[in-house]
Assembly symmetry: C2
Homo-oligomer: 206 residues x 2
DNA sequence: GCCTGTGAATGTGTTCACAGCG
DNA sequence: CGCTGTGAACACATTCACAGGC
């Protein structure tokens, strides 16, 4: 492990490697070369080796990497080697789809509670996740939950973020298509699918 | 307009500016400075001016930008000044949430048809969008549709992409959490919400 | 020969500092 | 005096080329 500041782009790619290794490891390979992984992921082989090199030496020259060893290392780097409880605010269409999304389990995430302000939804469960009153977000404080997902309309985004910050959340995944302001100690990742679609025409008709 | 190759990062930010300008323009401002826009978006003011400068001179020194003029310019740059028809493959939880998502309209997108392989879904409509047999993707060829969204399980992702490519689609938004291979002429944007969540713990417990 | 790990070179993107207009 | 637009400096990220281990 180096004392370099690791590049954000490297961190962004680590879960991709994780995904690829999980797939290739299930196929039962004893050793995986950066070349094989590269083909499977659409990333250059030297980029993969470079990224790993920031954290240590995980492979064997002439042979490759052991999938299980590498998986464990990446999980440790990304702090995915223990389970994480997550809360979600917003149990509408998008929120419900996120709750139903099977992909989170692979990384050890579990959505434990949802919040919504719609009285018709409060008290129900969606995919086994209880929906509570949005006014009760502060109650998660004692449960040591570090991460929250915001899936509410833009107008309610900032107040949802404020509630999460007050409840000592440390990281937020923001699906609401609006900018939200959080203290620097809270890591914010924004996802806006309409904006991703919005830059396609530029490339398509170029 | 310069003959520079425009940076991808600049293009990625343009829809953010669009979103911010739409919001501020509705509030009825006559002029907007890069500083005001910066506060509203969480982006540095010089970054905003720099990005605009790659395309031309849209503002007035000492005054600022006229929201309507700037909106029009950005729409033209991103080719959003006309409506775009979009197809979606996969009408499950995620696909349905995307179809119900109101945000696309702001950028002039309309999802005109969905495809799924589940016989129970074929023939129904979701949010007014007809669901057709996934084997019939080729029928869109005569409708001049340029963009497609993939929202199917990983195992079906590549064949969905192949079908879209065969139907002369030019851009793909890939929500399936797997790497898909497309010809270079097709622009591919990958979105994997589980992977975005997967890098939060790194920053949260750092 | 095949594969990893890495310094050096290159390319890309961000930040600064300020000229010049309104 | 405030604001835009931009060259120049800087920081960051990717790509190359190859030393060295298996």
């Amino acid at each position: 492990m180096r004392y370099h500041k690791i590049a954000d782009e490297t961190i962004r790619r680590m879960p991709i490697y994780l995904r690829g290794l999980m797939a290739l490891s299930q196929e039962g390979h004893q050793h995986i070369s950066s070349n094989k992984l590269a083909d499977h992921l659409g990333i250059a082989h030297w980029q993969i080796r470079k990224d790993f090199s920031y954290f240590g030496e995980f492979g064997t020259p002439g042979v490759g990497y052991q999938p299980e060893v590498l998986l464990e290392q990446i999980r440790k780097i990304l702090r995915l080697n223990c389970n994480h409880k997550v809360v979600i605010i917003g149990a509408g269409n998008l929120g419900s789809a996120i709750m139903a999304y099977p992909g989170f389990h692979h990384y050890g995430f579990q959505i434990v509670v949802a919040f919504d302000s719609d009285p018709k939804k409060i008290g129900k469960t969606i995919c086994g996740i209880p929906v509570k009153d949005a006014a009760a977000v502060h109650t998660i404080k004692r449960r040591k939950i570090q991460m929250g997902i915001i899936a509410v309309p833009p107008a309610a985004a900032q107040q949802s973020a404020d509630a999460l910050v007050k409840a000592d959340i440390r990281g937020i995944l923001n699906f609401s298509s609006s900018y939200i302001n959080v203290p620097k100690r809270v890591k914010l990742i924004d996802i806006d699918i309409a904006m991703d679609l919005a830059r396609l025409p530029y490339y398509v008709s170029a």
